[in-house]
């Protein structure tokens, strides 16, 4: 067993670190150092910078525009991005529908959609959940009926994250109501901006930002050639796509960054004649979280190392979402405690009276309640572990009261 990087890998790390330092615009760097939240326009700007360098899609094969890195290099690259606190990129094209199209898309679909995903010219969103189909996704009801070369869509999607910024949506819709619910679902790609009958309305989240949207479809026509996989075969497309997001969604590296923010807050928060970081009781609370974070980071490393050897993700990877998101939340909870009164302000306050970081912590603390809900709620994760990994039996059907 070996934890270390080779000298080539270390040289690569230095190369990446140096490049990032040179490539980030000054204003972006300032915000990154302050731990502030980036606007969508900044995220797009960073996307274009990475694209020019050829590093925007580390996981893609070389033939479709990936840099051809092994998993160790991809890991190093991600760590360096987090180290520099660069803006997060929209994941829906690059790490979700893009890899799915590479795997299952037609030649035409690949040529049409992959280049603008890479360049950042087209941004994607995900249309899975509906008001009555959350954890029970197979209950979805957005209807797609064939008419000529098109499907005609009627119904509603919800939690379509950042749909207001998106050009395209990948969605699950009902193309048949016969047989098993899962076998009547198809996977479609739709132009959100230019299709008559599609409207998007963002929710204001408790984090004070517009992250999720509702998306309505009223007689919206989508060409059949934009269906991925066979008709009524959308469920397996959705499952394949889920495989791509499993490890990323635990946010292990991102929460590590927050752990450092937490310490910095504690060090800069005056208490009596010293700072909060001098308080042994508070230090112990941080230490406990940090030790736990080390544990989940190691689970992450084991998963990556297994992938590098070409092995399927082991059972340990299934806990990353569950544990990773809970630790992430606990870290932001502790950031709130650290800031005391200053954590209680809101983002619409005067920026001089309430500095950016304080406002950002409160916003993230609220928004991050979503991490244990999205991507399969943590309760669903527990169901999956219990059934698929531990092999526990299914629950008996509920008995009617007599």
């Amino acid at each position: 067993m070996d934890m270390s990087f080779s000298s080539e890998q270390l040289a690569f790390r230095d190369e990446v670190r140096e490049w990032i330092a040179g490539a980030m615009p000054d204003e972006m760097k300032r915000k990154a150092d302050d731990g502030a939240v980036f606007e969508n326009t900044e995220s797009l700007a960073w996307h274009r910078i990475l694209h020019e360098k050829g590093w925007v899609a580390p996981d893609w094969p070389v033939e479709v525009g990936g840099p051809g890195w092994d998993s160790a290099r991809r890991f190093i690259f991600q760590e360096e991005l987090l180290r520099a606190n660069t803006p997060a990129l929209s994941p829906f094209g690059l790490t979700m529908v893009g890899p799915l199209l590479i795997q299952y898309g037609s030649e035409e679909q690949q040529q049409r959609f992959l280049p603008p995903i890479l360049s950042g010219e087209e941004i994607w969103c995900q249309g899975y959940s509906e008001p009555n189909a959350g954890s029970d996704l197979a209950a979805l009801q957005l209807r797609a009926e064939k008419d000529g070369d098109d499907y005609v869509l009627n119904g509603q999607k919800t939690w379509t994250t950042y749909a207001q910024y998106a050009d395209w949506i990948f969605l699950l819709c009902r193309t048949s109501s016969e047989g098993k619910r899962q076998e009547g679902i198809s996977f479609l790609l739709a132009d959100v901006k230019n299709t008559p009958g599609i409207t998007v309305k963002p929710f204001l989240t408790t984090g004070g930002t517009y992250a999720f949207s509702e998306t309505w479809f009223k007689d919206a026509r989508v060409p059949q050639r934009y269906r991925v996989g066979p008709e009524n075969g959308g469920w397996s497309m959705a499952k394949a796509l889920l495989g791509h997001e499993r490890t990323a969604i635990g946010g292990v590296s991102e929460s590590g960054r927050w752990l450092q923010t937490l310490k910095r807050i504690a060090r800069e928060t005056p208490v009596g004649r010293g700072t909060l970081l001098d308080d042994p009781a508070f230090r112990r609370r941080i230490a406990r979280l940090e030790m736990r974070h080390r544990a989940v980071s190691m689970v992450n490393l084991r998963t990556l190392a297994a992938a590098e050897l070409g092995r399927a993700p082991g059972a340990e990877s299934s806990i990353l979402k569950l544990v990773g998101t809970e630790i992430f939340q606990e870290i932001t909870e502790l950031c709130m405690d650290a800031l005391g009164h200053d954590s209680l302000g809101w983002i619409d306050s005067d920026p001089v009276a309430l500095p950016e970081r304080e406002r950002f912590v409160a916003s993230q603390f609220n928004y991050l309640r979503a991490t244990t809900i999205y991507g399969g709620s943590n309760e669903v994760q527990r169901n999956v572990i219990a059934k698929q990994i531990l092999g526990l039996p299914s629950a008996p059907p509920a008995r009617k009261a007599s």
Partner: protein
Amino acid sequence: MNFELSEEQQILVDSVQRFVQNDSTVERFRKMRETERAWEPAMWARMGEMGWLSVPFPEAHGGFGGSFMDLALILEQLGRGLVPEPIIPSVVLAGGLISRLGSEEQRDRFLLPMIEGRSSLALAYAERQSRYDLADCLTRAEASGGAYRLSGEKTWVLNGHAADHIVVVARTSGDQLEATGLSLFVLDADTPGLSITRVNGMDGQRTGRLELDGVEVDTDRLLGPADAALAPLEWAIDRAAAAACAEGQGIVQELFERTVSYLKQREQFGVPIGSFQALQHRAADMFAEVELCKSCMILAAIQADAEDPEERAAEISAAKFQLTQGGWFVQSNAIQLHGGIGITDEQDEGLFFKRLRVLQGLFGDADHHSDRFQGLDGFDAEARQL
């Protein structure tokens, strides 16, 4: 990065597994706990023959020259059978210190017979008032005319009841809590003035309480330089904590697997209780803790060989913390999910529960390791880096 077992490690794991299944099941442990010694010299000799006791020592010291990870893999499997032979006190604690600090003569005299399974060792460091503070030492060793006279009391000496030789921590200078002034002495168990009282552990293993009443030893019993034992002692206790994580991992895994199979087999309301979602979610959370323990144990075993005390301390404290907190979640729920049968002595789960609880309390508990972790230089360095 690579966390796969090497071919040699896989062979080692397989052979220890076979040993536990064929020769040292929980049934043997049950017999042993009824005896005074609570372990078998014949079995110890066999372990010596198989080379397990030589694993972490350099070849020049008569060892196998293996890594700490190799030893951890052995302990993990032995944990699954509650194998009671005193590997942690003999190999990791006293053996480790003799190998690290001893003269060639001391190694030949005290280490080699242990490696061959002909003798066993112990380390006497804890005192009534010391808790987990290794510097806290009231036992004194006064130099007088080419000899030392040791007086004081040592508690919770693992294998102290049965060891042939005991490494004793005593103060040659300084006050009770001072970091310098500690020295190590190798004593024969039958040295005049040394009285040893057997104390039975909750886990069915035995320890010794030592009273040293002007015990006289020659200067050739001094292990390593005088007044400078704290750093090597910390090293040895860190490795023992990593070893506890390894043995504990075997127990956590065993308790978890036994619980999952019980959930599938036990029926109430006409169905297996494992079909109830409340219990499924508990099992899923237990699984998460088992995997976290496993990851920490690997890191701790890798770091146990590290020369940088800071990194070693950070990972080993994190691992011991996880074994104590996460392991507790697994063991307490293992009993809870078994229901009443879980607290009967005839059921093995309770035996695993008790051994794990002992391992959690040895070499620093969760609070101790939290505090040590937050006291490391790196903890504050990170806060300054940004």
